[in-house]
């Protein structure tokens, strides 16, 4: 095990569009910038695997990032905030002490999963989950796929998988046609989004798109064989890609102590959080998609570099895109029927195999944790937390370190490091 120390003017956590935009803009202002991400390469989920294509946006941002001298640390996961101006991260056998003057949190979002019978079977994945696996090399040509859940991601995933030869049998969107019409209206007000939507429509010609429809049960012995959808139809398939829109990754922001509002990180017009010098951009401040993430990242990058005046021209564009984000939220809100999908024996917490029946007896997330171990496994409630928030209206606890499972040696190193040592380590920055 090695301890590696790095010091940056601006440290950016998260290498998706928001984080890439923030790091590039801060570095182009002449700051020494570090960009840390837990996945094997930059691009986040939306640009996963695309940087190999030199014509892609992902490749252009990666090139700009390297020209601007951003130090990229991939495969590196932040797990602790031991003192002001420092984060600890793990990469394989090494622990990184990342010291910073300014911090930009661009930790993205994950899918919301809702429990239904059979959802724990192998080959039932998230919609973004299956897309990520395919972008990471999983062969999909000729495989039969049902896509279900809610959100614009479903269509994007359907188009992406079809392009790679998947047989997309159906896209089941839980929202009603009537709610989607409002979203269509928002698309009409944004030319870029509208043209993306029209391209999607072309790519999906002939694919069954069912609204007001959701999975009732995934069936199979040992792995998925079929899915029963809410119309009562049984569809034999190889993969079910099912996700119920997105929830923000706010654990690090909460650990650091940023003020939250309505489940998102509260920021001002410069994307600065309640803590001076700590910025947040992209999905953790509100689910709004790629373009909004890029604009927020630019603003955060300029502001973190101390060039606020350069951020101001982007405010107008951000405001327009925020309107789109609100329409998104309205159109794809979850219907109440989805609360009844889990049977008493259906596991809600997959890490600890805690059934709906046991959770229904609990009064709060806290009592569920104490009495049933729900949320106490390696995902730390990242999967079951958003589900129980919807099912039982529970609100999660405060966040404690380490915010991801770490190796025992690193954990003990974290515990053994005394307060005075920590102070000495960051002394130069504070």
């Amino acid at each position: 095990m090695a301890r590696v120390a790095r010091t940056f003017d601006v440290l950016v956590v998260g290498g998706g569009p928001a984080g890439m935009a923030a790091s590039v803009h801060a570095a182009e202002c002449g700051r020494r910038v570090g960009l840390v991400d837990d996945n094997p390469s930059l691009g986040g989920q939306i640009w996963r695997g695309e940087s190999a294509d030199v014509a892609s946006d992902a490749a252009r941002w990666a090139e700009r990032s390297s020209k601007a001298g951003v130090e990229v640390l991939c495969g590196t996961r932040v797990f602790h905030h031991p003192a002001q101006g420092m984060l600890l991260a793990e990469r394989e056998e090494d622990v990184f002490e990342l010291r910073f003057g300014k911090l930009v949190l661009a930790t993205g979002a994950r899918e919301r999963f809702l429990p239904f019978p059979g959802w724990t079977l192998p080959n039932v994945m998230g919609a973004g989950g299956l897309a990520a696996m395919v972008k990471s090399g999983l062969p999909i040509a000729g495989r039969r796929v049902v896509i279900a859940g809610t959100g614009p991601l479903l269509l994007a995933v359907a188009a992406g998988l079809r392009q790679r030869g998947a047989v997309v049998l159906a896209v089941c969107e839980q929202a009603r046609w009537s709610s989607l019409l409002g979203f269509g209206g928002a698309l009409l007000r944004d030319r870029q989004k509208l043209s993306q939507a029209l391209i999607l429509r072309k790519q999906l010609a002939g694919v069954r798109f069912l609204t007001g429809c959701w999975p009732i049960e995934a069936q199979g012995g040992g792995k998925l064989q079929a899915v029963v959808i809410s119309r009562g139809e049984r569809v034999a398939c190889d993969y079910l890609a099912c996700g119920f829109h997105l929830v923000p990754n706010t654990e690090l922001a909460q650990l650091v102590g940023c003020q939250m509002r309505g489940g998102f990180v509260e920021v001002d017009e410069f994307q600065e959080t309640s803590l001076s010098g700590i910025f947040c951009a992209g999905e953790p401040t509100g689910i709004g998609g790629l373009e909004l993430s890029l604009v927020e990242g630019k603003i955060a990058g300029f502001a973190a570099a101390g060039h606020r005046e350069q951020a101001v021209p982007y405010f107008k564009q951000r405001k327009k895109l925020e309107g789109f984000a609100k329409a998104l939220h309205r159109a794809f809100s979850l219907r109440q029927e989805l609360k009844a999908l889990a049977r008493p024996e259906t596991f809600v917490c997959r890490c600890e195999d805690v059934s709906y029946r046991r959770l229904a007896l609990q009064k709060s997330w806290r009592s569920a944790k104490l009495q049933t171990r729900c949320g106490m496994g390696p995902c730390q409630g990242r999967i079951c937390g958003p589900a129980t928030e919807f099912l039982f209206r529970w609100t999660p606890d405060s966040v404690r370190p380490p915010i991801f499972p770490v190796q025992m040696e690193h954990m003990s190193w974290m515990a053994n490091q005394s307060e005075s040592e920590t102070q000495a380590l960051v002394g130069g920055d504070s």
């Binding site: 837990d38 495969g75 899918e111 079977l121 998230g126 696996m133 090399g137 195999d353 499972p405």
Partner: protein
Amino acid sequence: MPETIVVTVNRQPIVVPRGATVAVAVTMANSRCRSSVTGEPRSALCGMGICFECRVTVDGKPHRCGCQILCRSGMDVRIDG
């Protein structure tokens, strides 16, 4: 550079595309990634390092998040339980 590489999943050789993750190799091997605490087979769910359902033993190191590790030629992947 070859377009594919070979890893072993529970000693069985699996040919994967270059750049594939360990979770992809395990899925291609038609194997579960882990057994749950009540013995259910589990495999990748989120594909992005959040759910930990795809954790496996990689070159002797347990509990590695399979969707975040790229396959290397000759890599030894084991499924616990």
